[in-house]
Subunit: 340 residues, 4 copies
C-alpha cells in the first residue's frame, strides 16, 4: 500500500518512546517506510523485540550506527539521541548528504551562549546554531522544505508557542507578564530505568519539577521572539502528570486591550491554512488529541487575565508526529499524509 | 480500643466519597465512633453495602433524616449535603442543640452578597453568614473549640490559603497579582453518576474547568483577607487530574522583596505549632500526602516570581480529615488524634 | 486523500465509545467516509460536540434515525445499539436494501433458544438467527463478503475464539475442561452515566463480575463449536481492569498430548494468511496491541495445563476495528486498509 | 500517644515499598515505634528523604547495618532484604537474641530441596528451614507468639491460602484441580530502577508473567498442605495490573459436592475469630481493602466449578500489615492494634 518509491527513513537511537512512536506512524504512512534503526544497545535484535507492539508488523533489525551506511539506504534520518550526543551524530550524517530531523535540543535555539548556559555542554557544531530550520511548519514551512537539518521542537514549547506567538505578534498581550503552567504525561521523561519514573512513583500523583530551571523555558522565549518579532519573558513551570501521553499548558497573559473574542479571531486567522491547529470553544482535554498530531486551544477570561489552554499529544505533535509532518514538508508531500 | 465514652458522630448524606472517608477515619479514631448515617436514597441498607470497603468493620445502617432523632444519639453531626440543601439541614440540627460540622460551602463566606452571587441560590439561614467558625484550626482554633457550627473548608481553598495567608500577613508578596493553578484528583467531583467523570472520560487526560468561574475563588480571597488582614485578588484555575485523590496548587506570587528563604522562614514560624503543616525543601508530590491529613509546601524562584507549591489530600485535609481535626478541637482532644 | 468514490458509512447510536472509535478509524480510512450519524439524544448537534476528539476533523451532525433516509445516503450502516433494540433497527435497514454491520449480540448466536434464555428478551427478528455472517474474517470471510447483515463479534469472544478454535479443531485439547479468565479495560462497560464506572470506583482496582452469568460465555462456546466442529464447554470469568482499553484472556486448557510447540505450530498454520493475528514468543501485554486491530497470542506450560494468553484492543479488534475489517471484506477491499 | 514503653522496631533494607509501608503503619501504631533503619545505599540520610511521605513525621536516619548495634536498640527487626541475602542477615540478628520478622522467602518453605530448586541459591542457614513460624496468625498464632523468627508470607500466597486452606481441610474440593489466576498491583515488583516497571510500560496495560515458573506457586502448595493436611497441586498464574496496590485472586476449584453456601459456611466457621478475614456476599474489588489489612473473599458457581474471589492489599496484609499483625502477636498485643 506504499507509494512507489516511498521515502526511506532511518531512526537513530531507536529504543525510546519517540522512536517507537515514529516507527508506528511510519508503519501506516502511505509514502514513507522505516528501513533502518540503530541503538548502542541491542544491536542485531529485531526492533520488534525492543518494542513488542511492532511484533508481526516490522522486520527492521537494530544495527550499529555508521553514518555512511545509514546514509546509503536512507533519504532522511530521524535522530532520537540526547542533547550533546545528537549534534555530533547529526554533523556526521549531514556530511554524507542525507537530510536529518533532529529530535534533540541541539539546534533549536538561536543563541550559542544561551544553549551552552542552559544545557551546560560545549556545542559540538556551533557554526550551525541559528542556522537550522525550526520544525514547526505552521511558521517555518519554507525553511523546512529546503533544510538539510530540521530541529524538531520541544514538546512543552510546541504547546506554548502555538497559542502565544500569534497573540504576541498581533500585539494583543503584554510581553513581560506571561505565566505558563504546563502538565505533561510521563512518556516525556523517556524510557531509561529511573526510580523517579517507576509506575508506583508517578501513578496517582502530580508534581511540579524543574521550577525556574527547565530548559524548555528559553526555547519558548526564543521562538516566540523569532516568530512574533518581540522579546518576551515567560515564567514556565512543568508538572509530571499520571498519564502516558499529553501536554496541557495553561497560560496566563495580561491583555493589552484584547477580549477573548479577539484572541479567537487572531488564532483563526493565524491557523486558517494549518490543518493540525484548531481553536475550539470548549475547554480541551489532553484526551481529545491523544494519539494524534492535532492541537486544540481555547481561551477564557479570569479576573484581569486571559487564560489560554492548549493541548497536544507530547509524543505526536510534541515529537514524532511533528517529525513526520516535517518530513512531509521536506519531501513535498501534503502535511497531513500519514497523520490524519 | 475506644476511649470511654467516645464522641458519638452522625453523618448526613452518607453515600459520597467524603462521607466514606469520614467513616473510615472514625473507624480507627480512638476517641470517636460513628453511630448514625442518613441518606435520602438507600434507607435501611447497611452503610457497608453502599461502601463495600466498610464490610465487616461497620454495622451502622442508613436511616431517614430526622433532626431530633439524630440529635438524640449524636454529640456531633457531619453534614455532607450539597450547598443550599445543607444550610437548611444544619439549621434544623443546631435548633436541637447538637453541634455540626458542615462540609458544604453554605457558611464559609463572610458575605451574604458574595455567597448569593456565586452560588446562585437564596441562603436559607442568612443570619449565620459570617457568624460561623471556619474549620481551619491552624487559624481559627479558638472559635472552633466553642462553635455550634463549623464550616469545613473547601478543598482547593485549603491548598491555597495555607501557603498564602502567612505571606500576605507578613507583607512579603503583592496582594493583587496572585495566580493559583490547581490540579485535583477526580474524587473532588463527587460520586453521582455523570458521563463527565466516567473512568474513560477522565483517565489518561488532564483538563482545566471552571476557568474564571469556580466558586472556590472567592472563598480563597475571603479567607486570606480574614486571616491576613489585607484584601487580595487572585486568579484561580482548577484542573481535573487522572488520579483518585490529591490537590497540588502551584501559586505564582510577585514578591515585594522576599527571597525564597524569607518565605520558608515565614512558613516555619507560622506553622511551628501546627502538626499537619510541613514546609519542605523538596518539591512535594500529591502522593507524599495521599491518605493523610498532612500538608507539604515548598517555594522556588522563577524569573521575577516566587512559585509556591502546596499539596494536600483533597478527601483528607481537604475534607474529612479536616472535619476530624475540627471535631478533635471542638471536643478538647489533641488535634492529631486519629489522624497520624 | 479518499479514493473515489469512497464507501459511504452511517453510524446508528453514535454517542458511545465504539461509535467514536469507528468514526476515528473512518477518518483515516482511504476508501471510506462517515456520512451520517444518528442518536436519540443530541439530534442536530455536531458529532464533534459529543466527541471533542473529532473537533476540526469531522463535520457530520447527529440526525434522527430514519431507515429510508439513512439508506439513501449510505452503502453500509454500523449499528451500535444495545441488544434487543438493535435487531429491530437492523431489520428496518435491511428492508431498504442497505448492508448492515451490527455491533450488538442480536445475531451472533446460532440458537434462538440460547439467545432468549441468556438475553431475557423476545427476539424481534427470529428468522435471521443462525442466518447471519459472524464478523470474524479469519473464519467467515466468504460469508461476510456477500452478507447483508454481519454480526460483529463480542469483545471477550474475539479474545477467546481466536486462540481456542484452531486448537479444538486440531484436536489438541480437551473440550470439556477450558477455563477462560479475561480482563478488560473499562471502555467495554460503555459510556452511559453509572456510579459503577465512575473514575473513582474503577481506578486503582480490579474486580471480577458476571461470574458464571456473563452473556459472552455462550457466544464463545457457540462459535468454537461452529468453527471447530466440536462442542465445547467453557468456564468464563470477566474482570474489570483499570485501563481504558484492552482485553487479556488467560485460558487454561488440558492438552490431549499437545506441547507448547504444537500449539504454536497449529496457530501459525491457522493464521498464516491472516494479517492481524500474530502468535508470539513473548508473553503479550494489552499495551502491545492498544489502538490497533492486531491480536497477539502466546502459550506456556504450567503443571498439567497449557496456558494460552491472548491480547486484543477491545474497542478495535474487539469492536470497531473488526467492523472496519468486515466492511473491507464486504466491499472487496484488502482487509488491512485503514487498519495498519 | 504511644504506650510506655513502646515496642522498639528496626527495619533492615529500608528503601523499598514494603519498608515504607511498615514505617507508615508504625507511625500510627499506639504500641510500637520505629527506632532504626538500615540500607546499603543512602547511609546517613534521613529516612524521610528517601520516602518524602514521611517528611515532618519521622526523624529516623539510615544507618549502616550492624547486627549488634541494631539488636541493642530494638525489640524486633523487620528484615526487608531480597531472598538469599536475607537469611544470612536474619541469622546474624537472631544470634544477638533480637526477634526477627523476615519479609523474604528464605524461611517460608518447609523443604530445603524445594527452596533450593525454585530459588536457585544455596540456603545460608538450612538448619532453620521448616523450623520457623509462618507469619499467618489465622493459622499459626501459637508458633508466632513464641518465635524468634517469623517468615512473613508472600503476597500472592496470602490471597490464595486464606480462601483455599479451609476448603481443602474440610474436604470440600478436589486437591488436584485448582487453578489460581492472580492479578497484582505494580508495587509488588519493588522499587528498583527497571524499564519493565516504568510508568509508561505498565500503565494502561495488563500482562501475565512467570507463567508456570513463579516462586509463589510452591509456597501456596506447601502451606495449604501444612494447614489442611492434604497435598494439593495448583496451577498459578500471576498478572501485572495497572494499579499501585492490591491483589485479586480468582481461584477455580472443582467441588466434591460442595455448594457455594457450604463454602461460605466453611469460611465463616474458619474465620469467626479472625478479625481481618471477611467472607462477603458481593464480588469484592481490590479497592475495597486498599490500604488496610483486611481480606474479603466470595464464591460463585460457574458451570461445574466454584469460583473463589479473594482480595487483599499486597503491601498491607500481603506484606507490612501482616508483619505488624505478627509483631502484635509476638508481643502479646491484640492483633488489630495499629491496623484498624
Amino acid at each position: 500500500m506504499k507509494t512507489n518509491p516511498p521515502i526511506r527513513v532511518g531512526i537513530i537511537g531507536a529504543t525510546g518512546y519517540t522512536a517507537l512512536e515514529a516507527a508506528r506512524l511510519l508503519q501506516s504512512h502511505p509514502g514513507a517506510e522505516l528501513v533502518a534503526a540503530t541503538s548502542r544497545a541491542d544491536e542485531g535484535k529485531p526492533l520488534a523485540e525492543i518494542h513488542p507492539s511492532l511484533a508481526g508488523r516490522c522486520s527492521v533489525a537494530i544495527e550499529t550506527f555508521d553514518a555512511e551506511s545509514i546514509a546509503a539506504k536512507c533519504d532522511v534520518v530521524m535522530c532520537c539521541l540526547p542533547h550533546g550526543a545528537s549534534a555530533e551524530t547529526v554533523r556526521q550524517l549531514v556530511d554524507t548528504g542525507v537530510r536529518v530531523i533532529d529530535f534533540s535540543a541541539d539546534f533549536r535555539l538561536s543563541s550559542l551562549e544561551v544553549y551552552e548556559k542552559w544545557y551546560g555542554v560545549k556545542h559540538p557544531w556551533p557554526e550551525r546554531i541559528g542556522n537550522v530550520a525550526y520544525g514547526m511548519p505552521e511558521f517555518f514551512a519554507a525553511e523546512i522544505a529546503k533544510a538539510d537539518v530540521v530541529a524538531n521542537p520541544g514538546c512543552y514549547p510546541t504547546s506554548a508557542i502555538l497559542p502565544l506567538a500569534p497573540l504576541v505578534k498581533a500585539g494583543l498581550v503584554e510581553c513581560d507578564d506571561i505565566i505558563i503552567d504546563s502538565k505533561s504525561g510521563v512518556s516525556g521523561a523517556g524510557r531509561s530505568a529511573k526510580v523517579a519514573t517507576l509506575y508506583c512513583e508517578t501513578n496517582e500523583s502530580i508534581a511540579a519539577y524543574g521550577v525556574g530551571t527547565h530548559r524548555h523555558g528559553p526555547e519558548i522565549d526564543d521562538l516566540v521572539h523569532r516568530i512574533a518579532g518581540s522579546e518576551v519573558s515567560t515564567i514556565f513551570t512543568p508538572h509530571l502528570t499520571p498519564m502516558d501521553r499529553g501536554i496541557l499548558s495553561t497560560i496566563y497573559v495580561r491583555p493589552k486591550s484584547a477580549s477573548a473574542d479577539a484572541v479567537m479571531q487572531c488564532w483563526q486567522e493565524a491557523y486558517r491554512d494549518h490543518p493540525f491547529v484548531s481553536p475550539v470553544d470548549h475547554l480541551p482535554a489532553t484526551k481529545h488529541v491523544a494519539g494524534t498530531n492535532f492541537v486544540q486551544m481555547s481561551v477564557r477570561v479570569s479576573g484581569d487575565r486571559l487564560v489560554l489552554v492548549c493541548v497536544i499529544d507530547n509524543l505526536a505533535k510534541g515529537a514524532s508526529g511533528a517529525a513526520i509532518q516535517n518530513m512531509n514538508v521536506m519531501f513535498g508531500l501534503e502535511q497531513t499524509i500519514g497523520l490524519n
